[in-house]
Assembly symmetry: C2
Homo-oligomer: 457 residues x 2
């Protein structure tokens, strides 16, 4: 179907990309206090752009954390309302020395745009903005449906403020469905909708031994070593096969349907290629008896992200640290709950505490797992739009990641979410050399234009 908005987007590809680069140059790292002003600057940059393209009621909403950005256009009487969500904060860029070009100097290389946040999520979030511009510019300032835009600046640190806002102001966000572009294609050129997400609890285990750091020569053999104790705890959290040992951890796990499992088996996936090209470890790990897709989409897991404390510089310091901490998260699947899982985990960790030390288990943030019923008109409109732009039938996958806001939209706003993302599996999310395939940025904008046009029918 001819779409003037799609034509417009194609004519302005170069400018759209340049604008995205400007946004990527703002180091809006939400987890690092020293970047607080940068996070706000990104919010204000986006608010200005939403105003410029013709959105209304544009507002940078202050919160106790990083700000939200809101905008709307609500004059399509009788048409549905879409809540378009994205996040403009990014992960820290460290380790910096592994980036081939600086993380906040967007660089084009081999058809990709390299920068922290290129795909997660600035680049994908900005597709929504450019789809809106294309529609508004070619329809005399009108949109085919009603749109509310809601952007947050702390998705990478748990999204506490947007969750509170959604819970407190359902009337300001009243909509029929949500659109979220923070996921990926299953393979290059394969249009993909994500219909399931893992949940997460992110925790810290802190072990304390002596009241102060001690010299390991003077006190080694009498003073407890909190790192050894912490290692003894962590070693008991998973068995050699990667099965989590927390009692009752798997009790509530619901297996995917036989249909879903069969569909996953037909996806183009080569485990050995995946191991070599994406992981690069000698072997893969995880529970025996489950394929990689099932393990990463539909099985809960436990990972350790870092163990702060003690001496971590170059060379040798002979200290017995007073305390040691581990950052430990668990991915959850339907129908586990964050609350139940954390309670079981905390109790188990406390039960493992060795003599001579004390242990404290803290919950840093949480999000619930979910699956979306594919038999809804918005998912169907999305598959029609994707077929038109990509020339292929859509595949339905799940993601191993967690997008807690999808759960909040369901719980507080009763919205189904359409998770239409255009990242690629090797885009290095949360890692050095994050990138976004530039062709996918442009096809994403076109897909979103056509999706919104289709939902107006």
């Amino acid at each position: 179907m001819p779409s003037p908005a799609v034509d417009y987007a194609r004519q302005h590809q170069s400018r759209f990309l340049d604008e995205l680069k400007d946004l990527l140059r703002i180091p809006s790292v939400s987890t690092l206090p020293e970047h607080k002003a940068d996070v706000r600057r990104a919010a204000e940059w986006l608010a200005a752009e939403l105003t410029r393209i013709g959105m209304q009621h544009v507002e940078v909403i202050d919160t106790p954390g990083h700000p939200l950005v809101y905008a709307d256009w609500l004059h399509a009487a009788g048409k549905p309302t879409c809540l378009a969500y994205g996040h403009y904060d990014v992960q820290p860029a460290d380790p910096l020395d592994e980036w081939k070009t600086p993380p906040f100097e967007p660089t084009e290389r081999d058809g990709n745009l390299y920068a922290r946040g290129a795909v997660d999520d600035k680049g994908q979030m900005y597709m929504h903005v450019k789809a809106l511009e294309s529609l508004l510019a070619t329809s005399g300032g009108k949109l085919p449906i009603n749109i509310r835009v809601l952007l947050e600046g702390e998705e990478e640190v748990g999204g506490e403020q947007i969750a509170a806002f959604v819970q407190r102001h359902p009337e300001r966000l009243q909509s029929d469905f949500a659109l979220i572009s923070d996921t990926e294609l299953f393979a290059a050129d394969l249009p993909t909708l994500c219909v399931g997400l893992r949940g997460m609890i992110y925790t810290e285990i802190e072990v304390r031994g002596a009241m102060t750091d001690l010299h390991s020569g003077m006190y080694g053999g009498a003073a407890p070593n909190p790192f050894v104790a912490l290692c003894q705890i962590i070693a008991q959290l998973k068995d050699a096969n990667g099965r989590v040992q927390v009692p009752g951890f798997y009790d509530r796990v619901e297996a995917p349907t036989p249909d879903e499992l069969a569909a996953w088996k037909s996806l183009p996936f080569d485990e050995e290629h995946y191991r070599k090209s994406e992981i690069g470890s000698p072997t893969l790990t995880g529970e025996p008896g489950y394929g990689v897709l099932e393990r990463t989409w539909a099985r809960p897991t436990l990972d350790v992200h870092g163990m702060p404390g003690g001496f971590t510089g170059a060379g040798a310091k002979t200290v017995i640290p007073a305390k040691a901490t581990a950052k430990v998260s668990m991915r959850l699947v339907p129908a586990m709950t964050a609350e139940d899982t954390f309670a079981k985990y905390k109790k188990f960790v406390e039960s493992l505490c060795p003599a001579g030390v004390t242990v404290e288990v803290r919950l840093i943030h949480q999000g619930e797992a979910m699956v979306i019923d594919t038999a809804n008109p918005y998912i169907e409109a999305a598959t029609r739009a994707l077929k038109e732009i990509w020339g292929k039938d859509t595949v339905f996958i799940r993601s191993g990641g967690s997008i807690p806001i999808v759960g909040d939209f369901k719980r507080y706003l009763k919205l189904p979410s359409v998770m239409m993302g255009f990242g690629l599996p090797d885009d290095n999310l949360h890692a050095p050399n994050e990138k976004f395939h530039i062709a996918n940025f442009h096809r994403g904008i076109e897909s979103i234009i056509r999706f919104w046009e289709e939902t107006a029918k």
Copy 2:
């Protein structure tokens, strides 16, 4: 016995302390590359002071690492020669926020001088310099015996350069005994000589999983987690009682003699007071069946000092790090050797490597354990001097720490060492709020003056 040098030291206490403060203000942290110039500055400061007081052949000796400082006075014909050793480098000061006053702003409080290096070893090393000044100033520029001074700037990072120098230039260091003041009194007011040291191997275990950092949502359940693997390895290095599990680890351990054990039992030591005042943990740890003094002086141990890698900032980053490292050291006792122990440890760690990751074990530095025969004239001279200044009989103890240079002096120069130190057990070596009891600084100077005078007899 009246000593004009002791009188001189008593008259100049205030200036001696002020000079020490100047030296402590130089942040000569040998392990941190950013302090390289400060380490040299401390060496030059000391060379200038040795020249000023009348020592000869003063030289800052360049090495591939931090410099050595040498000086001598060799005109006491027919008298013995003492090699006076000390180190002017210090441990890093972190964690900075636990210091009550800044680590490089020496501060007097309750009769103590607080600063990084106050007791380890700038303050104790400087006692030698001030004893030399007192003797030279009161004897027309003469000393009762021959003295060579040798100071190093990398004791806290393994002392590689001084070890190489001692091995290469035994002729330049020809002496009859060494004096080292880098140990402590067993209790306040109890003159103490240290006659045994533990050795050490300081190692790093590096575990590598994926080829790059990965998102724990996308890859959790398939990608190996190097921290979990490292914890699984470390948890197997010690059992719940603190006994090291490396096969053959204890094979060569020689127990102290029954006489030595009996002498230790008569020392004023209260385990519960030690736990409360020095350690502060709920219980002590270590091998059952051995007392605290035996565990810390005469039993080998294993400690983890820190586990660099991954995400260690505030908040949450959902990364599966590509690699994780642990800094692990072992304290050795006679007749274990560093070489044999490292080989057994490396083999054991490699055998524990879980599937999906690779492990590398690196030796960072090493020093051998040793015991000194107390029946030698220099130890006897030391006990006479200590009795005179402190009014009490000397106790002979061991130290759980490692002073590798004592082994090098024995091996390459055939020297017995007199380890006459004046620190206190609660001086916070290697920890925040390191201090030196000011009265002990002054009594230490007097003890060393009298010791050198006694060795001339």
